[in-house]
Structure formats: C-alpha cells, structure tokens
Symmetry: C2
Subunit: 127 residues, 2 copies
DNA sequence: ACTTGTATTAGAGTGCACACCAAGGTATAT
DNA sequence: ATATACCTTGGTGTGCACTCTAATACAAGT
C-alpha cells in the first residue's frame, strides 16, 4: 500500500526514536496509532505532527505528566478549549521561568569569562 | 564558636538541601568542606558561593560531570586559566543552544494560544 | 538521666524518560 | 526454503541526580 508510513519512517520524520514513539503512545501523550492488518502502526501526517510537538515540548523541558494532561484535554474534545488555553499558558509561563534561569546562568558565565584575569585572586568572584 | 555555619544554615543560604550539599562534596563538584572537632562540616562564605554557583548551573541544565571537569580545573590551580575559560565558553554555548530550543517552544505555545479558536478544526495546527 | 537538636556515614531507594532485549510474526526477494 | 527487513509485545535495564534510611554520636537544656 502506498502512502503508508511505518514506524521507521515516522521516526525519521519526527526525529524521535521508534522506542520513544511507542513509549509516547503507551503513556498516552499521543493518541493510539492506527494499525494495518498485521498490527503494524500506520502513521498519518497528523500523527507525525503530534509526535514532533511532544518531542519539542519534552526537549524544551516539559515533563510527560504535564503533556499527558494536555493530551487528555484534547481527547475530551472541543468543549475543553478554555482549559486547554489555560494549560498552554501555564506551560509557557513555566518555560519562560526556566528561560530566565538559563539566561541568568549564561550571564554569570559571561561575567566570569570576561573577568577571569582580574578575578583569579578575587575571592568575591572565584568559585 | 561564633561565625560557624552548619549544614542546615548552609542549606538555607545556598538554597540547596543538606543531602545535595553532601552529594556535591562527595562527587567533587565542590571542594571538601572543613570539619569541626566533631566531624561536622563548617561552611565558609566562599563555600556557600561555590554551592550556589553549582546549584545555579545545575538548575540551568548543566550536568554534574561537566561541572566536575570545571571543579577539577579549579583544583589544579591558576595555570589552567585558558582551559577554564574555554570550558566556560563551551558551557555557555550549550546553555545558549538550550535557550534557543526553549524559546522556540515558547513561541509555538504562544502561537497556539493566540490562534486556538481558528485552529480548533484546522488539522495543520492542531496536535 | 533523658530528651532534643544537630550532625555523621554507608548504602539503599526513587523517579524520570527512555533504551534495550528476547521471542515471535509477516512480507518480499533470491 | 531461506534470508532479510520490518514490525510486534512484555519486560528488563540504564543513567542521572538526587533523596531517604538506619545506625550512631555529641552537646546543651530541663
């Protein structure tokens, strides 16, 4: 059959290992994937997008259980729109916080880099 | 004795749990802490700064083994200055990369938040 | 003398997010 | 018929960074 995407291809397209894809399906952050007559997963483009999204959010630092909450809202249908948006905002705010922390760590590293000579013997800035 | 800081106080000041402080000492990302006659750790302000720095870097996403490399350079003395600076730059660059990923995740969340209504039925943007 | 508070150690346990493995099924090519 | 390529499942293993537990010890307060 043409246009059928196996897990190997899906893995490449979504930049997510087959094991991870199966794991995501198992824990429920992606919806169950359609199977062919042999029980093999057949991925649609939408499936790929979902996997990519989840992978992206994971890489950024969101954890599985948070993403599961969102996946559950999606599965419950359109009447959960407000909750979904609230959720997305919460996660965004959390990432924003994380970003601030990371930025301040970068700043501290830059400070050290720029002032290393003068601070070699300066207890205030040496670690 | 006045001016002696026990692990509990050190924990508060550095916002790091006593267990974590002991762990950091054990793995070597902070130097061995001075002990009093009973074997209790006595933290100096510099110790506190070191712990805070390591905690900060950990929170930002650097891993223990990277920080251990740096700690080893410090322990080897001033002649490792160039290596230290190189190291700091590497870590900064890694954090910068991570920051970019986080930012793009935030962007994607914001896009979803801003366009939720119109995309409820739009397969291109729904996950 | 006893309790309370603070600390020590070695080592075991935890939680997360996968990664790996064995045993097996199916389909196509040679 | 046999190799190969792809997939399935259930279960086990891994690495990281803590976190907790048990057994012990000391010092000060009542």
């Amino acid at each position: 059959m043409k246009n059928m995407i196996g897990i190997k291809q899906a893995s490449k397209l979504s930049e997510t290992s087959p094991d991870t894809i199966r794991y995501y399906e198992k824990v429920g952050i992606i919806a169950p994937i359609k199977r062919d007559k042999n029980g093999f997963r057949q991925f649609s483009e939408r499936d790929i997008r979902r996997i990519k999204f989840m992978r992206h959010m994971r890489t950024a630092g969101l954890n599985i259980s948070s993403l599961l909450e969102y996946a559950n809202l999606i599965q419950q249908g359109d009447q959960t729109k407000d909750e979904r948006v609230t959720f997305l905002k919460e996660q965004r705010d959390q990432l924003q916080k994380q970003l601030t922390i990371t930025q301040s760590a970068i700043d501290q590293l830059n400070y050290k880099i720029d002032h290393y000579d003068e601070h070699m013997s300066d207890a205030k800035h040496l670690i």
